[in-house]
């Protein structure tokens, strides 16, 4: 029996007079790939930002693994077990690929100033383990041979992968991806799909904002559709595809006639 891994209930967020989100709820099961779609300006990224602590919700309840969490500080959300990537890739540009992933390990490791200065045995052990795990993660996303390259010298597709590896390094229960396929060519998209399938197979839940309908329909188990800050449909890809409200939202009223 699968419980609910991530439970977000009744989230509202207003910017002045604009209701960016109105009573939005969303549930994620372990191993599920959940798509969050909607026309431009529907509130997808706002929802992402609220969920990950970048914006503070006006109302709403959040829990991860039956443990309520308060998304009131970005770094605490990551510590709770939700990692994210960004719509426009945001890597640590001057650091190597390996170092980027090692930063992802930060919250799961302990070495402090004393450890850095003395490099005692336990500190060296932790550092070596961090390095090994980071290398493994680079291999996992398929860019192991680029470990020593500066992040900003990587190709676009590789940067996307690196960002995912860095997020995975925080050992997230939920991985939230903001338009991971944006700007990718067909080959890169296919590879991305294989990677996301593998991550799902490892028992993490994925939340995906994506415009590429083919990717979303092919990959997601369930989909939530937002429009004007409200949930207008949810269900399997098939259900959503045939939903009148969804078709209207995307193509305008009367389009289905």
């Amino acid at each position: 029996m699968n419980g609910q891994l991530l439970k977000v209930e009744g989230v509202s967020k207003r910017f002045g007079g604009v209701h960016a989100l109105e009573n939005v709820s969303l549930y994620l099961e372990p191993g599920e790939v959940h798509g969050l779609i909607g026309p431009n300006g529907a509130g997808k990224t706002t929802f992402f930002n609220v969920m990950t602590g970048l914006y503070r919700a006006d109302t709403g309840q959040f829990s991860l693994d039956d443990q309520p969490y308060r998304p009131d500080a970005v770094h605490r959300v990551a510590q709770a077990g939700i990692a994210r990537t960004f719509q426009n890739i945001r890597l640590f540009a001057s650091m190597t690929a390996l170092e980027n992933v090692m930063v992802g390990r930060h919250i799961r490791t302990e070495n402090g100033i004393w450890a850095a200065l003395t490099r005692h045995r336990r500190a060296r052990k932790e550092e070596a383990r961090t390095r090994d795990m980071a290398l493994q993660l680079l291999e996992y996303v398929g860019i192991g041979e680029l470990a020593e390259r500066r992040a900003d010298t990587l190709s676009y597709g590789h940067q996307r992968r690196l960002e995912i590896a860095r997020a995975l390094a925080t050992e997230p229960r939920v991985l939230a991806l903001d338009e991971p396929a944006a700007g990718m060519n067909a080959v890169e998209k296919q590879q991305l799909r294989e990677l996301l399938d593998r991550i799902r197979g490892d028992g993490r839940a994925l939340l995906l904002i994506e415009h590429d309908v083919k990717l979303v329909m092919g990959l997601c188990d369930r989909i939530t559709v937002l429009d004007h800050g409200q949930v207008i449909a949810r269900g399997t890809p098939q259900q959503v595809r045939q939903d009148r409200a969804v078709i209207e939202a995307y193509l305008g009223a009367g389009a289905h006639d």
Binding site: T52, L54, V74, H75, R76, V77, A78, Q79, A83, R84, F86, R90, L91, F92, A93, S94, M95, E99, N100, M102, V103, G104, R105, H106, I107, T109, N111, G112, I113, A115, A116, L117, R119, E126, E127, T130, R149, R150, T153, R166, A167, T170
Partner: protein
Amino acid sequence: MSLAIAFTEPATRARLGVLLFAMAVLIAPWIAGHAGGNAWVRMLDFALLYLMLALGLNIVVGYAGLLDLGFIAFYALGAYLAALLASPHLLTQFPALAALLPDGLHTSIWLVVPLAALLAAGLGMLLGAPTLRLRGDYLAIVTLGFGEIIRIVMRNLDRPVNITNGSKGIASVDPVHLFGVNLGRTQELFGFKVASVYLYYYLFAVLAVLILLACLRLQQSRIGRAWMAIRDDEDAAEAMGLDTRKLKLLAFAIGASFGGVAGAMFASFQGFVSPESFTLNESIAVLAMVVLGGMGHIPGVVLGCLLLAALPEVLRASMGSLQQWLFGQVLVDPEIVRQLFYGLALILVMLYRPAGLWPTRQENLR
């Protein structure tokens, strides 16, 4: 052929570099002393003090990416602490204290240095706390103001109770005593007479090397990586779970503590402190060393320091005689030529090597 490859191997090259650097550090004062007498050795002493400052500032600016224009405040704090704890000034102001300490106030350097580091670290956090939300230029302005506040406080803290002796400064600060040896006097070592400036040189060199090693170790650590992540992209760093407030405070504190140590050394070396040693110009000079050499890259910072600390003095010393030789007379005041070259050098570096003279790894792949 194989030898050439061996010397281009990064590990070998690094080891060779360290060896050469160590040798250069050891013999530098003797060469300088031979060429220009004790004044030049004294210049090297100051270069080492600047190096400690630049390494401290490099943690804040180079690693964590926090532009700090008031760094000299921590230097001032260390200097005034050493001056107060090891000079007759406090005792003349507070007779009750003088009665308690009939031999005068001569705090050991072993206590002054850790105290200076701790106090500066505390002040660093105090400055850091309200500025955590500020980024870039705004942070620079606040830190600039902070640096000036400290200097002005030092200048005016002679009333109602005379603590810093105002703009007159505090004189007769004890020289450093190490293991019973007074570094302020010429000492005899194996039959050699070693002047005070040489003794201080080696003390400063040891401290600078310790700080340098600490910086290198910090750079390649979990904390160092976290700082650089914040420097590169603060939002992404936060999304990775990094507590950016805590990490920034840590950078401020550690950078400041190095500045405090350098300050305490400065006071003991000079025997005198006054607010005029801690002007905004000094903050900028230290920042220029870090930026000119290559932010976040230790060899670059060392180079920047050597150049900017030594170059003005060398120019000052040589410009007069150079003009004599070229034109038969001194046409322009050497002091003005010196400043001209100094400014010109900074502008040229920023134009042609914007990342610094010796920046951190740069890849020109593919």
